[in-house]
């Protein structure tokens, strides 16, 4: 198992290099001159040239790429074109708010989603199932920005119970994590339900029932564990997506996270920030996949790693 993890971690390096290369090419293919954008709406030609030199954009592309790779190897991602602060600092400031928001949203949405899923599967096609799936379909179909605005209007503006924007206290986390988690909870519910419905039809469940186990034990011990594999896969994927920072939720709740940073960076063609962010997102996905793979083994010991 350890050797498997080490092998996977080593495999990370070529992947990241490839991602880095592609991202570098892509962002430099975007239309628009970042020096002109940075210099602003009433700058003249001389100023634009000065800004270009300042940002190192006057050098040939291969040289810029080498500088980028070399910098990354020394853990230096350059400075943001927009704010001139080090990219590592820009991202560092915003990583934790996004991370905690992701964790809290995932936590409640996975718990609630799985509960709804199990209940729906057990009482399949009866009213708990109908009710649960109604929730699930609404959760998927209701757009996050609208949900966020409705929640804010109701709980912050009308009732005054919760703060509107920012991330200062735990109370600030409630509305954004509800908004962000709603879709995840819905997806989890549907996934758990379908996975559970399959498992409940299996032979070993019939055997468990036949030997006289009570239904609760059958569902929780024999059913849940086996139904969990696809659910964990989905969980990993969702976690990865959310870690990228939800652009919409972060905008509505003015969350100081990575999603807003990415939007700002793309708007201003802030190359260093875009590159570092995409690298970070790729790294996150790879790591999450690894964790998911390891979890498979814990859930189902018959899975072996080589």
């Amino acid at each position: 198992m350890t050797s498997y993890v080490v092998k996977r971690l080593l495999g990370l390096l070529p992947t990241l290099l490839l991602v880095g290369f592609l991202v570098f090419l892509f962002v430099h293919l975007l239309p628009g001159d970042p020096a002109r954008l940075a210099a602003g709406p009433d700058a003249n030609l001389e100023t634009v040239e000065l800004v270009r030199k300042d940002l190192g954009l006057d050098r040939p592309l291969p040289q810029q790429f080498l500088r980028f790779v070399n910098g990354v190897l020394h853990w230096d991602f350059g400075r943001s074109i927009r704010t001139k602060r080090p990219v590592s600092q820009e991202i560092g400031d915003r990583f934790m708010p996004t991370f905690w928001l992701t964790v809290w949203s995932m936590l409640w949405s996975v718990l609630i989603g799985m509960a709804i899923g199990i209940v729906s599967a057990v009482w399949r096609n009866r009213w708990p199932d109908r009710l649960g799936m109604t929730f699930a379909v609404s959760g998927i179909s209701f757009p996050a920005f609208a949900l966020g605005m409705v929640l804010m209007q109701f709980f912050s503006v009308q009732l005054g119970w919760l703060p509107t924007v920012g991330d200062d206290t735990w109370r600030h986390y409630i509305l954004p994590s509800l908004t962000l988690g709603a879709a995840v909870a819905a997806i989890m519910a549907r996934f758990t339900r379908s996975s559970f419905v399959d498992i409940l039809g299996e032979d070993f469940i019939r055997t468990a029932r036949a030997k006289g186990l009570d239904e609760r034990r059958v569902v929780i011990k024999h059913g849940l564990r086996n139904a969990l594999i696809p659910v964990v896969t989905m969980m990993g994927l969702q976690f990865g997506f959310l870690l990228g920072g939800s652009i919409i939720v972060e905008k509505v709740f003015n969350w100081p996270g990575l999603g807003r940073l990415l939007v700002d960076a793309v708007d201003m063609r802030d190359y260093p920030v875009i590159q570092a962010l995409v690298l970070l997102f790729s790294l996150e996905f790879i790591l999450i996949n690894l964790i998911v793979d390891v979890l498979y083994g814990l859930i189902n010991p018959t899975i072996r790693y080589r």
């Binding site: 003249n44 030609l45 000065l50 001139k84 209007q153 924007v165 003015n254």
Partner: protein, 512 residues
């Protein structure tokens, strides 16, 4: 348990004792985007410069109606040839770090921005004209220009031209000063959490006695329009700008809020590429100007928060001349088009420099209006990067793809030179500046040049009048509307104004 109780009572007692000190006047401003920098010489956005007014002041500045007033300067004299400006400075002014404000500060700051080594984004605004800055005595500075440039004092009033403490500049260096701003302004810099807020606190040694009247200002960037409105409704913010038109109606209904529509110098126009057929024919351009109903445009796209443009430079800019509005006359438009040889109209591109909802409404309205005289347009809303690539940094004027172009301009010096030269001078074609009409008229160019050289105000007024009237007749643009600036503030807050260039004036800020 007992000790916990004791601690609690102690805490409550401490809070009660400290209460008077806590009755601080803390103001929160909710603004629309994050700040790029605190250094006005390196800022290209109005908002960052407006925020920097908390801690920085210039030699000259603008009052709430955008009239130029002396701030750190007391008076100036200009030599006969218009080359040498001698500026008398205010005495008894201190920077936040205790340094006295003297003539050396003027020299250090202007030398910094005119030195290309420092690579500041406002380099272009100063380098063209400042030759050198000298210290005559402690309270007299002398600035020598390369060529006479009569709007020079207006340039000193531009929100970029501020006085940074020379001591702090030496300590932090030209780059890092942006993270440690030290000026002479009413507030000291406290902290900048770039994701969240920027906070400033009252400077006790401020030279204007009795000011500022509040203890702190927290500048909070909140990107989403609705969230900003929510913040105003819950009372978490005291002032917000801009307020989108659709939100204005909601906020107006709240008894403790006031929505203000202030006049602006933000002019919206439709520029036409005069180097390309069919727009090389003035009759075609005039026809387009006649075909647009500006009153309806203001109502439809701006919810009434705009007025038809009455000149080439908007009212409020010094030396702006009122000529229009350009009448709406479909019959005349059709006749002109026929005279020009396009009785059935033609097809062309209509680009917008912005991709927000208002721009979308404007372009759709224009499309529909031009359809009436047979001109079919294809709309493209340019995203910032595309705009730069296809318009602002297009290298060869002959092949420039821009045709009809919806754009706007805010004259941040409040003076006719900056309203006309960057947009209509023959020298200002992209990529140099923003003459997107590729307009060139020798008479206009000469007027702009001569107005720079003269020091006589009457002479200047005459030259600018001539230039504006010529341009109006030539119609390189169809002038559209002048926007109004919508802001909202709590009724407890007073003395905060959005000035016509969309910057803020908060000298008189107070909280009840």
């Amino acid at each position: 348990m007992k000790s916990l109780f004791r601690m609690l009572t102690a805490a409550v007692a401490a809070m009660a004792l400290a209460a008077p000190a806590f009755a601080a006047k803390d103001v929160v401003f909710a603004v629309a985007s994050t700040f790029t920098t605190t250094d006005p010489y390196d800022a290209n956005d109005t908002l960052s410069q407006a925020m920097a007014k908390s801690f920085y002041e210039g030699l000259y500045g603008f009052d709430k109606d955008m009239k130029m007033i002396p701030v750190l300067a007391e008076s100036y004299e200009v030599s006969k040839d218009g080359l040498v400006y001698t500026i008398k400075l205010r005495k008894g002014v201190k920077f936040h770090d205790g340094t006295d404000f003297k003539a050396d500060a003027v020299k250090v700051n202007l030398d910094r921005v005119t030195n290309p080594e420092n690579k500041l984004k406002r380099y272009g605004l100063y380098n063209n004209n400042i030759a050198k800055t000298e210290v005559v005595d402690d309270y007299t500075a002398r600035i020598t220009l390369k060529t006479a440039f009569s709007p020079f004092i207006a340039q000193l009033a531009h929100p970029s031209t501020v006085m940074i403490s020379p001591t702090a500049l030496k300590q932090w260096g030209s780059k890092d000063i942006a993270f440690h701003p030290v000026g002479t302004g009413p507030f000291k810099f406290v902290e900048w959490k770039s994701t969240d807020y920027l906070k400033v606190a009252k400077f006790d040694g401020y030279w204007r006695k009795g000011y500022p009247k509040v203890d702190t200002i927290t500048w909070k960037p909140v990107v989403d329009n609705n969230s900003r409105a929510a913040l105003m409704q819950t009372g978490e913010a005291h002032f917000t700008f801009p307020v989108p038109y659709e939100v204005a109606e909601v906020l107006k209904k709240k008894p403790d809020l006031e929505v203000v529509a202030a006049p602006s110098i933000v002019l919206r126009y439709l520029s036409m590429n005069t180097q390309q057929k069919p727009f090389d024919n003035p009759k075609v351009r005039q026809a387009i100007a006649y075909a647009i109903n500006k009153d309806a445009l203001a109502k439809v796209a701006f919810n009434g928060y705009a007025t038809p443009a009455v000149g080439v430079a908007p009212q409020g800019v010094e030396y702006a001349v009122k000529i229009g509005p350009w009448p709406y006359d479909i019959a005349k438009a059709k006749a002109l088009l026929k005279e020009a040889g396009y009785p059935d109209g033609f097809e062309t591109e209509l680009w917008s420099a912005y991709n927000h909802t208002t721009a979308q409404k404007v372009t759709q309205f224009l499309q529909q209006q031009l359809q009436q005289i047979g001109i079919k347009t294809k709309i493209t809303l340019l995203e910032a990067g595309q705009r730069v690539e296809k318009v602002e940094s297009w290298q060869d004027p002959k092949t420039a793809p821009v045709r009809l172009y919806y754009v706007g301009w805010s004259t941040s010096t409040g003076e006719a030179d900056w309203a006309l030269r960057p947009l209509l001078d023959g020298e200002s074609w992209p990529p140099r500046l923003f003459n997107t009409a590729y307009y060139k008229n020798d008479k206009v160019d000469a007027d702009i040049k001569n107005a720079q050289l003269t020091t006589s105000s009457a002479e200047k007024a005459k030259l600018y009048k001539d230039a504006q009237e010529t341009i109006w007749k030539d119609a390189p643009w169809a002038p559209l509307v002048v926007e109004k600036l919508l802001s909202a503030h709590s009724r407890k807050l007073s003395g905060v104004y959005v000035i016509p260039d969309a910057s803020f004036n908060f000298t008189e800020i107070d909280l009840k």
